[in-house]
């Protein structure tokens, strides 16, 4: 499947990376795509390193095993930098989105990337704290993802954010999350 796009998110339990997978999946389906989103569950506890996998394609998805050669890797938790194999299996022309307060030159030595792989540092935590009042940086990272690769349309994602958060937490929270998403979009 040449049009298959695979994303791997490195995060820690309790940071909402699973929610990102869910939002991308729901928005992707609303956008007319085939998707699959799942998490790798180790010991289920807050703070434990975890991975979320997302597949997006225009054809039905048949392979359900873990994603080993992602097109994009998102590092949601800065503290995992240098701790887990973030670049493992990343495609030659793959993309890395790193949540960090450091510059590209500062983090580059910690990442084993080739020249053809692009790295996008973004201080998603800072933006999330500013807009949402807490480190729900995944929404910000999703904005960055959408700017770099609009495989799921901006409209569908914003609509999904609106729907999910308005239903669960009310209109005000939904608006803040959409703002966080847009700030992420503009930051890369």
């Amino acid at each position: 499947m040449e049009n298959l796009f695979e994303i791997r998110i490195h995060s820690r339990g309790g940071q909402g990376a699973k929610t990102i997978g869910q939002i991308l999946a729901e928005a992707g389906i609303e956008d007319g795509k085939f998707v699959e989103a799942f998490s790798e569950y180790g010991p289920e506890r807050s703070g434990a390193p975890m991975q979320v996998f997302i597949r997006i394609s225009s054809e039905p998805i048949r392979v359900h095993s873990n994603i080993k050669t992602p097109d994009m890797v998102i590092l949601a938790d800065p503290s995992l930098l240098g701790m887990v194999d973030i670049t493992g299996g990343l495609k030659k022309n793959g993309t890395l989105i790193i949540n960090t307060d450091k510059t590209l030159d500062e983090i580059k030595p910690k990442l084993k990337t080739s020249k053809s792989q692009k790295i996008y540092p973004i201080n998603a935590t800072k933006i999330a704290v500013e807009v949402l009042g807490k480190d729900f940086s995944g929404i910000v990272l999703m904005g960055a993802l959408n700017k770099i690769n609009p495989i799921v349309s901006k409209e569908a994602l914003e609509e999904e954010l609106e729907e999910i958060f308005a239903r669960k937490k009310g209109k005000e929270v939904a608006e803040k999350n959409i703002l966080a998403f847009r700030r992420g979009y503009e930051a890369v």
């Binding site: 389906i29 699959e36 989103a37 799942f38 998805i61 048949r62 392979v63 359900h64 080993k68």
Partner: protein
């Protein structure tokens, strides 16, 4: 739903897909006890019940043994009764599972397959299902969330058919399917309602004008005859399923069969397996076919009753076949492997078989693992010893 919606698909995990089917069935009684990775099924269903989407009486049991006992009682009384479980939960139910099938109660149970302790592991393999393979339940396996949804509806009809009257387990791979959000098509509530029809129990315990006994003492006088009838009932499921599958195809556009052949007709090498890894094999096959390698897949959807005749027919002309069991049978070959090899015992012409065990405790099986199996088959690397796929 939102205005940008360009699709009829819903984003559902396998667990949610099972719960959606349960909502549309609207069973009289659902007894539940949580266990990973089944919990999303009953969690979703309990939410639907709390929101008034169903009129089901929910029984929060104190154990799986009690949950199965409750649905046995409810089903004998004449209710449509369902439950769900995994792993240790199914093990704990085992005693009562035999009672359900022996009493010919058409209970539907969604199972998110998970390994058995020890060592403790919450991830997916099919050991729990294989443990109950001789329990007299229909066992139907699903490749993805869509098949979970479809199999739930189909198995209800199958279990309740007067010629079958046998409980059914609808399997999905734990986590891989139960927790993965995928594209799922649902039928309209009204269409499902019409498809499943109204349940008219033949011998309800609560029909006091026609008193019956359930679970009576049945010694050397009639136990054997009753067991023979039970065997006949589950055996009838093969033929009945064919008719229900055709009917389901008409309302859904999705045509199922007890087995699924993928590019098998002209294949010289093939893999046989059950569950979610079938999709991985299909992708590998497509790549191999581009290189001119005649690879195929036989996916077993119905494991009990075992569709031996259909399997024998579909494998008869294949040169080399790898049989993949996602459950170990320590001290013996895997269950699927034994069943399929037995079909060809004494046959003049038989494929060469390689028995494999894979995916225990949720060990990830990817394209390269499946590719390696086909490569070995192609090279004729076949041995009488069991191959352990992905073992370090």
């Amino acid at each position: 739903m939102s205005s940008t919606r360009k699709t009829k698909y819903h984003a559902l995990s396998g667990g949610e897909a099972a719960a959606q089917a349960m909502r549309q069935i609207n069973p009289d009684v659902v007894a539940m006890y949580p266990i990973t990775p089944q919990t999303p099924i009953i969690e979703s269903f309990a939410k639907m019940a709390a929101n008034g989407k169903v009129t089901t009486s929910i029984i929060n049991a104190e154990s799986e043994h009690s949950a199965m006992s409750a649905v046995v009682g409810a089903s004998a009384a004449g209710a449509r009764a369902m439950t769900a479980t995994s792993s240790q939960g199914l093990a704990y139910m085992a005693e009562v599972c035999y009672i359900a099938s022996g009493m010919r109660l058409p209970i539907i149970m969604a199972v998110a397959n998970r390994s058995l302790s020890a060592p403790l592991n919450i991830h997916g393999d099919q050991s729990d299902a294989m443990m109950l393979r001789d329990s007299g339940w229909i066992q139907i396996f699903s490749e993805n969330a869509q098949e979970v949804y479809d199999n739930m509806l189909i198995s209800l009809r199958l279990a309740e058919h007067p010629k079958v009257l046998t409980p059914a387990m609808v399997m999905q791979d734990g986590f891989i399917t139960s927790h993965a959000v995928q594209n799922v098509l649902k039928l309209d509530d009204e269409i499902v309602k019409k498809f499943i029809g109204e349940w008219k129990p033949l011998y309800p315990l609560l029909d006091i004008d026609h008193p019956v006994t359930y679970g009576g003492l049945d010694l050397f006088d009639y136990y054997f005859e009753h067991k023979r009838q039970q065997i006949e009932g589950i055996g009838n499921a093969l033929k009945v399923l064919r008719a229900i599958d055709s009917e389901y195809a008409k309302i859904s556009g999705r045509k199922y069969s007890c087995i699924e052949e993928y590019r098998l007709k002209d294949a010289s090498i093939a893999i046989v397996l059950m569950g979610s890894t079938a999709g991985t094999a299909k992708s590998v096959i497509d790549e191999l076919r581009k290189k001119g390698i005649k690879a195929g897949l036989l996916k077993i959807r119905l494991f009990r009753p075992f569709p031996g005749e259909a399997i024998k027919k579909s494998l008869a002309k294949i040169k080399r076949v790898a049989i993949l069991d996602k459950a170990a049978a320590p001290g013996a070959s895997g269950a699927l492997s034994n069943e399929i090899r037995a079909l060809f015992a004494g046959a003049k012409k038989s494929p060469q078989f390689q028995s494999c065990i894979y995916g225990l405790g949720g060990r990830d099986v990817g394209l390269e693992d499946i590719g390696k199996i086909y490569a070995d088959l192609q090279k004729g690397k076949i041995s009488d010893k069991i191959k352990y796929i992905g073992l370090r």
